[in-house]
Symmetry: C2
C-alpha cells in the first residue's frame, strides 16, 4: 500500500505545550478566571477572526505586515492581533444590550506573523481586563492596577506595578513647545538605551540643555507619590497639572484598596498612543530584569472607529504566554508535582472487572485512578507504572477483591499499607 | 475631524455570546475540564492553524471547500476543522516524549467555512477526549462511553449513549458480497429517511429481497446486549463475529463501570470511515429529537499519514457549542441566576475611600462586591443598581462607616438588615 508520509511539523512560533506543562498552564488560566470573576469582571470570548476592515480600522496599514490576512469567498478576513479591537467592535455592536460601566475580561489567543524568536510568539495568549463606560471614575484606574495583586497571588507570585500618567509628560513637553508624540517615543526607549543616548535623542528634537535636564529629572523619578508631588512646581501647564492631580487621586484609591507593591515611574509611557491618562506596567517583584509581564492604562475613546458615542476605558493586561515562558526558562515551574494519575490499578484477568469498578468508585470520590492498560504483561504494567512516576499503585489480586482491603504502595518510598477504600480516600485527601 | 465610521460587524456564523451566557458557557467548559482531569485525561492545546499539508493529508481534497486556507510568506496554512488531525500530528511529532497509552482531552475552536444556518457554525467549540496507544485494551472503549455520564452530570443533564460496532455490519455486508463503504453510507441515513427509501437504496446496490430483510432486521435492532446477541446466528463471517464479541466484552466493562444509561443501536455507523470498531452517539436522555450531542469510537491508525508506527485510538467527543445552542433555544439555560456582582456598594464623596476598602475586604473574602460608578449622581447610581438586578446593595453613609455596621438591602424583597461585615459574609455563603 502506498502511503507517502508527511513530516508532522507545527508552524514555528505557535504556542504548544507538552501535557504536564499544559496542565500547569490550564491551572494558571482557571485561577486567573476565578480572580477576574471575583472582581466582578464578566467573561467575553470573541471570534479568532474578524473582518479586516474592523481589525485594521485603528492602525491604518501599520500592523499590515505582521497580520494574518486572507479571503474566503468575498470576505476579507484577519486573525486578531489583540483583544482590544474585538472588544471595541463588540461594545459598539451591542451598545443597547450591555450595561455600563461594562467590566469584561478575556483570555484568548492572538496572532502576529512576525519572525519567531526567543520569547516572541506568532500565536500566543493574551489576558485582558477592561472597564468601559462614559464618564468613568478614576476608581477604575486604581482597580485595574490593584487587580495585578490577586492575579499574581493566585499564581504564587508577587506583583510590582510601576505607574505614571501620560498627561504629565505630555503637558510638560507641550510646555516646552516640543512634538509630544516624537518626544514620548524617545521616553519609551529609556529602559533600552543609556542615559546619554536618550539625552542626545532629545537634543536632536531641539530640546535645550536646560529642558533636557528637566526632562531627565522627570523621567528618572521613581518612588512614592511624595516624590512625584515634589515635581509639581516644575511646570505650569494645565495638562501636566491634570496628570499630577489624577495620579494623586489614584494613589488615594490604591491605598484604600490596600495595594502596597507599587511605585511611580514617570518614564513609563506605554508605546500605544491611545493611552491618554494613567499608564502602568507590571513586573514580578524582585525580577524586574524579566521585563514587564503586563501593562495597561486609561484610554479616551475605545469605539471611535465604529460609532459617534464616546466610550472611555481603562484596562490591564497580563502577557500570560510570556509569563509562562519565563517561568519555564527560569525553572520556576513545578511540573514534577503534577500527575494525571494518582493511583494506578494493576489488575489480572480475573480481577479486571473488579478493577474497573474500583477505578470508577475512586473517580466518583474525586481520586484520579486509572487501570494500567490491560493488554500488557504484568511486567510491562509495572514498567509503565514506574515510567509514569505514579504516586501510588494498587496490585489487585483476587484476595484483595474478596476482602475489600487493598495494598496501597507508595511508589516513592516503596512503603505498603493494607487499607479499606474509605481509608485510602482519607489518606489521599491529606 | 474626519472619522469615517465602520459598521461593527462580526463574521456571520462565528460563535459569540453575551456576557451572562458566556459566563454559563465558561462554567460548562470548566466543569468538563474537571471531569476529564478526574478521569486521568491530560490537557492539550494545539495551534488554531496548521500547515495545509498536515490538515489536508487525511481527506485529500474532500474538506477543501469548507476549509479556511491561506498563505503567509511561503507557508500554506489552514485553520483546523477538527481536533483529531492536530492530535495525530502532535502524537507523531512527540512519540518519544509521550507515555502511552496517552489520554488527552482538548476543548478548542474549530473552523468550517460552510454557509451558516440554524444550529450550524463556522467557528465553534469541540470537546474531545481520546486514548492513543499500541494494542489498546477494550476497557478504553468502555471508558470513553462511560465518560459521557459524569460529563453530562456536571452539566446537570442525563446522557443516553447508543452503541454499535462497525465490524458487525461490515462483516455482514462482506458476507453478502456487497460494497461495504457504499452500504454503510446508506445505513448512515437511517435516521433521516423512511424505511422504504432505505430499503430501495439497498436494492439499487444489488441486495436481494432476503438480504434487505436481514439488513433491516440488524439495523432496526435497539436494546440491551441480549438483543444484539440474538442476532449471532445470522452471519458466519469472522469480522461480524469479532464485532459481536467486542460488543459483548465492552458491555461487561460498561457494567463494571456502573454505566446504566446506554443501549445498542446497530444502525449507528458514524459517517467517518476511519472508525473501525466500537462506535457510539450520545443524546440528552429523553430528548433524542435534539439529535446527537456527541459521538465517537475506535479507530485503527491515527497517525498513518505521519509515521509508520501504528497507533490505535478510541475517543469521545461532545459538541459543546451545539449543546449550548440547543439548551438556549429550548430555554433550558438559567441565565437569570448568574450575577457578576453580588453586592453593589453605593458611596458618597465622603465615604468613597471607606467604600473601596470595604469592596476590597469583600472580594478578599470571596464575595463579588463592586462600587457603583462614582462619577454619577445618587439617583443614577440607584438606577444602575436596579438595571443590573443586583441581589444586594449597601448604601454607605458616614454613620455606617463609623459603626462598621452596614445596611444590606435585598433588592428582590426590599428587606433591609443591619449587619456587621462577618455577618454579611456568613449570610451570603448560605
Amino acid at each position: 500500500m502506498e502511503n507517502k508520509l508527511i513530516a508532522p511539523r507545527k508552524i514555528q512560533g505557535f504556542w504548544e505545550l507538552m501535557p504536564k506543562e499544559e496542565a500547569l498552564f490550564e491551572d494558571m488560566l482557571s485561577r486567573l478566571r476565578k480572580v477576574f470573576e471575583n472582581n466582578c469582571f464578566q467573561p467575553l470570548d470573541t471570534p479568532v477572526a474578524e473582518f479586516s476592515e474592523i481589525l485594521l480600522a485603528k492602525s491604518g496599514g501599520d500592523v499590515d505586515k505582521e497580520i494574518y490576512r486572507f479571503t474566503k469567498g468575498h470576505a476579507d478576513i484577519c486573525l486578531r492581533y489583540d483583544l482590544t479591537v474585538p472588544l471595541a467592535r463588540f461594545v459598539a455592536g451591542n451598545m443597547n444590550e450591555l450595561i455600563f460601566p461594562f467590566k469584561r475580561y478575556q483570555i484568548g489567543k492572538v496572532y502576529r506573523g512576525e519572525r519567531p524568536q526567543k520569547g516572541r510568539f506568532r500565536e500566543f495568549y493574551q489576558c485582558d481586563a477592561d472597564v468601559i463606560g462614559e464618564n468613568l471614575s478614576l476608581t477604575y484606574d486604581a482597580e485595574c492596577i490593584k487587580l495585578y495583586e490577586p492575579c499574581f497571588k493566585e499564581l504564587h507570585l508577587d506583583a510590582m506595578v510601576e505607574i505614571s500618567n501620560r498627561k504629565l509628560l505630555a503637558g510638560f513637553f507641550e510646555s516646552l513647545g516640543g512634538n509630544v508624540v516624537e518626544l514620548m517615543t524617545i521616553v519609551d526607549k529609556v529602559d533600552k538605551l543609556p542615559k546619554e543616548e536618550i539625552a542626545s535623542l532629545f537634543k536632536e528634537k531641539g530640546l535645550t540643555a536646560s529642558d533636557i535636564e528637566k526632562t531627565m529629572k522627570i523621567i528618572s523619578t521613581k518612588g512614592d507619590i511624595k516624590e512625584v508631588k515634589a515635581l509639581s512646581a516644575m511646570c505650569d501647564n494645565d495638562t501636566f497639572k491634570k496628570g499630577m492631580e489624577e495620579l494623586e487621586i489614584v494613589d488615594e484609591y490604591l491605598k484604600a484598596l490596600g495595594m502596597t507593591n507599587y511605585l511611580y515611574n514617570l518614564s513609563i509611557v506605554r508605546g500605544h498612543d491611545y493611552y491618554t491618562g494613567t499608564v502602568f506596567e507590571c513586573y514580578i517583584k524582585g525580577k524586574r530584569s524579566f521585563g514587564a509581564i503586563g501593562g495597561g492604562g486609561r484610554y479616551d475613546n475605545l469605539c471611535k472607529n465604529f460609532m459617534e458615542t464616546k466610550m472611555e476605558g481603562v484596562g490591564m493586561s497580563i502577557g500570560i504566554t510570556r509569563l509562562f515562558d519565563i517561568l519555564r526558562n527560569e525553572n520556576l515551574l513545578n511540573t514534577e508535582n503534577y500527575t494525571s494519575i494518582e493511583i494506578g490499578i494493576i489488575t489480572f484477568n480475573e480481577t479486571l472487572l473488579a478493577g474497573l469498578a474500583l477505578m470508577n468508585k475512586f473517580r466518583e470520590s474525586g481520586v484520579k485512578a486509572d487501570i494500567i492498560n490491560e493488554n500488557k504483561s504484568f511486567k510491562a504494567k509495572m514498567k509503565e507504572a514506574n515510567k509514569r512516576s505514579l504516586p501510588y499503585i494498587i496490585i489487585l489480586g483476587e484476595d484483595e477483591v474478596k476482602a475489600s482491603i487493598y495494598t496501597l504502595k507508595n511508589m516513592q518510598t516503596g512503603e505498603q499499607e493494607k487499607l479499606k477504600f474509605d481509608e485510602i480516600i482519607e489518606k489521599l485527601k491529606h
